[in-house]
Amino acid sequence: MAKISFHHSDGNVDVLDVDPGTSIMRAAVTNGVDGIIGECGGQAMCATCHVYVRPEYLDGLPGIGDDEEEMLDCTTEERDGDRSRLGCQLKAGEAFDSIEVDLPASQI
């Protein structure tokens, strides 16, 4: 099992234990975590699963692919050069065993 912590702007945190292979986006959508939409179901084409990865978890994450790079320039909230990632591209057990992200104010 891997652990994902979603930090909301109001200070609340949702912590999920997920099976390996589950993306941050899929974990949020399946468990009704507010603040992530995932409109395109993980195809890296809608930019509505935008997350800010907490700095201490950036090391060891897989690099940003071409499609993800393109979509990170289409997010509603401003892109953070270091921390912004698409939640659908980061999978538990592959990209991370434990991760904490801050959610943007809006995905649309």
């Binding site: 959508v29 395109c40 179901g41 084409m45 809608c46 499609d67 393109e70 995905q107 649309i108």
Partner: protein, 400 residues
């Protein structure tokens, strides 16, 4: 027995629903159904119509339980077996064959300039038609058709061909009445599209460009799938941008306070687009089929149930959208379902946003002073599976 099964109720029947009523104005019908239950068996449509946002959202995100590969599909007959009626992994192979042609980078680098040229061309044609002209026939339809023609790579066809192919094959897809004339017209277009594909593919192999068909020539995808997907794209990428463009203009012209705010701040056009496509989803309903007995939002459904996912109704669910029947570009942002969701999320969504919100709407309002509805010729909206303006006569000050 599970708690869910204990609370589940049989699906209610809505035998008062008629297709002519839906076609004229589906929204009061959707409202009445949705207030009563999230799903109804509707004899006139021969489907279980799903009208709540939550139930539609559940369906979109569970392709294993709610399959797109429905039995006796009219679309498969009218267009061939496209990706729209497949589940993953087969669907994903087809979907990936579209590559990056419709994605934001290609739009910024290539398609926006083409959309602009087409908007210039058809706006000039519209102005020449003069005040009282129909914005749909003289601008929105040819604009959408010509954009799609070039996106797809049909250099050997006209935008009029595209419009004819689109409408006749859509009519075939909706031919529940099994009207032989509708099938004949649909089949003629089916064959013409195949002929056009056969003719253009060799040309595009020698002269590659940014189009979908050009991209196909180097993709591991069988010709049969290309044929079906091109027909599906003709059916899904022409009427829809045309319709959201028409509804957006009509909505703004009918809501002067919002129009004034938009004219003063053109950064609002994306919000106009999103609210237009929520308020009147260009595709109001699409099908799914259950793969086993299930309970959906408390309603029992049998295996093999023919569902209608009524996103036109979900988009006006008061549980999600406050005062949902009103057009309000300033409403709190909540995600609508007009582009679908999940693996079948509309591949043309960015094309629609760029061509309509990014180019057409701002240009129309910038170049047609005092654009307004024609009091002598009423605008007409119609349809429910597909809905938009069938007639939008407008006036503007031609002397400026």
């Amino acid at each position: 027995m599970t708690a869910e099964a204990l609370e589940a109720r049989p699906v209610p029947t809505a035998d008062w629903v008629t297709i002519p009523d839906l076609h004229r104005n589906p929204f009061p019908i959707f409202r009445k159904m949705r207030d009563e239950a999230p799903v109804h068996w509707v004899p006139a449509v021969n489907r279980y119509m799903v009208t709540s946002y939550e139930a539609c959202h559940i369906i979109e995100n569970d392709q294993e339980l709610y399959s797109a590969n429905e039995t006796n599909s009219l679309m498969k007959r009218a267009m061939g077996h496209s990706m729209l009626r497949k589940d993953d992994p087969e669907h994903d192979v087809d979907r990936k064959s579209y590559g990056s042609v419709l994605r934001p980078k290609a739009i910024k680098e290539h398609w926006n300039a083409i959309f602009q040229a087409n908007s210039d061309k058809y706006l000039a044609r519209f102005k020449a038609a003069g005040p009282g002209a129909d914005l749909i026939r003289e601008y929105a339809a040819p604009y959408a058709a010509e954009n799609l023609r070039l996106i797809m790579g049909f250099h050997n066809a006209t935008q009029e061909d595209m419009q004819r192919w689109s409408q006749t094959m859509i009519n075939g897809t909706g031919n529940y009445a099994d009207d032989p004339e509708v099938w004949a017209a649909s089949e003629q277009s089916y064959n013409e599209v195949d002929d056009a594909i056969d003719e253009i593919l060799p040309y595009l192999r020698k002269n590659p460009d940014s189009s979908l068909l050009s991209g196909m020539t180097s993709m591991p995808i069988p010709l049969e799938a290309i044929r079906a997907n091109m027909k599906m794209t003709i059916g899904g990428g022409l009427n829809e941008p045309r319709d959201v463009l028409g509804v957006a203009v009509w909505a703004l012209l009918s809501h002067p306070e919002q129009l004034d705010r938009v004219l003063a701040d053109t950064s609002l056009f994306p919000a106009v687009f999103e609210e237009s496509v929520r308020w009147v989803a260009p595709i109001g309903m699409y099908p799914r089929e259950t793969t086993r007995d299930t309970v959906l939002e408390g309603v029992q459904l049998p295996k093999g149930a023919r569902l209608g996912v009524v996103v036109g109704a979900a988009n006006r669910d008061p549980k999600v959208f406050e005062d949902p029947e009103s057009f309000n570009i300033f409403r709190a942002k909540k995600p609508h379902l007009a582009f679908g969701g999940g693996n079948h999320y509309c591949a043309g969504a960015w094309v629609a946003k760029a061509s309509v919100a990014g180019i057409a709407l701002p240009q129309l309002f910038a170049e047609l002073p005092d654009l307004r509805l024609d009091p002598a010729q009423p605008a007409v909206d119609a349809g429910w599976v597909f809905r938009g303006m069938t007639s939008l006569p407008v006036l503007w000050d031609n002397n400026k």
